[in-house]
């Protein structure tokens, strides 16, 4: 499926804003992303498998709250860097 990658993580994807990855759940998708782009997952997901405080992940425009979210082949996944302040 197609994954939109925010600018903060494009060092891992060779500058690509859209990448392909596979998985039946968000956890599997992130594991696949990490295989393709080593190190990327830990910058988004902490060691307790929680989505980091300033990262949001949307599946078909709905915010995913944990990594158990089920995915279908045609789903659209958007990763967002979310941080406010000066």
């Amino acid at each position: 499926m197609n994954v939109a990658v925010p600018s903060q993580l494009r060092d891992y994807t060779g500058g690509h804003a859209q990448v392909e990855a596979r998985g039946a759940t968000l956890a599997e998708l992130l594991a696949d992303l990490d295989r393709r782009y080593p190190g990327m997952r830990f910058r988004m997901i902490d060691e307790q498998d929680r989505i980091r405080r300033h990262i949001r992940i949307f599946v078909n425009q709905e915010q995913a709250r944990d990594l158990g979210a089920a995915l279908a082949a045609n789903d659209e996944v958007v990763i967002v860097g979310a941080l406010s302040g000066g």
């Binding site: 925010p6 830990f42 988004m44 902490d46 060691e47 498998d49 980091r52 300033h54 990262i55 302040g85």
Partner: protein
Amino acid sequence: MPKTKTRKGTPRPASGSVTLLIGTRKGAFFIRSDRARRSWTLAGPHFLGHIVNHVVLDPRDGKTLLCAARAGHLGPTVFRSTDRGRTWKEAQLPPAFPKAAAGEKGLTVDHVFWLTPGHASELGVWYAGVSPPGLFRSEDGGVSWEGVAGFNANPMRLAWIGGEQEQGPPGGATLHSINVDSRDARHLYIGISIGGVFESSDRGASWRPLNQGCAADFLPVKDPEYGHDVHCMRLHPLAPDRLYQQNHCGIYRLDRPAERWTRIGNAMPKAIGDIGFPMVLHPRDLDTVWVFPMDGGTVWPRVSPGGKPAAYLSRDGGRSWHRQDRGLPRKQGWFTVKRQAMCADARDPVGVYFGTTSGEVWMGANGGARWSCIARHLPEIYAVEAVTA
């Protein structure tokens, strides 16, 4: 400052250029001198936009650099270079606490705060201190990191650090000041803010508090065993029984095997006090140290006292202190120097350096006798390490 009287066995001073490794709130920078240390060239930024808490060169090979970084949006990591910063790769397994069992709340590394190369006999070994307080070790030059269970899983850890704090001190409660005994790779000291000084004689498998004599005025207990607020602790590499400590309440010295710290900050001028963050050692003279006092009164402004920044030098192990402010702002200088942001080079006479919260780097020529600003307009500076060619 007169040339140092050296003891037998003391290495000869370095004679080459000096490179300062600067960690800032917005990236890493290098500042390199000419051989005379009169001209300085700024290079960078590396990792623009990353919060860089520490950049350290491995003295064992002279080319491996580790950089503790995180970005505002992204989790913490360690970057490594094996060519003195020309190219970088990310650690394959950055420091991370173990995954908690189902139903338990596990720890999460917020940021890697401190980096220390291991013993000279253990090539590739590094230690990292993190926030919340945790200790990690790498045996492959920083490629992969594993928690030191003797500390991180110690049944006393929570008591030592006063519980997990959602809102600790500015920047978060952290483990830092990792010191390895130059005679014995198994013998380690660490400092924790808040927690105190701890010692291990078995490479981190077990730890014990080492805080006797240190004040912890903010605690209701008189002379507690732990819970102190270490700001910076240094073990002299040439005299590894000599420890110096700048903490939240004062400046201290400990000569092992003694167990009780002596408050050498009592000899500081009363109007200045002995609160600050950094503690800097002379590379060859165990009795020469520098501190950079800050205002720890009222609401803890954490700025130079009275807006008049100055370093203080002791050449007698803390029995007396001498103000060094020549060249620094005479008034309205309100910057702070953080705990990793002051260091000395290995030349003779020694150059002393500090970076400020307002993004300036200052050099104290001739052991701090005269200061000059060698870089400005940088982001808030967190760390300054000197590498002497």
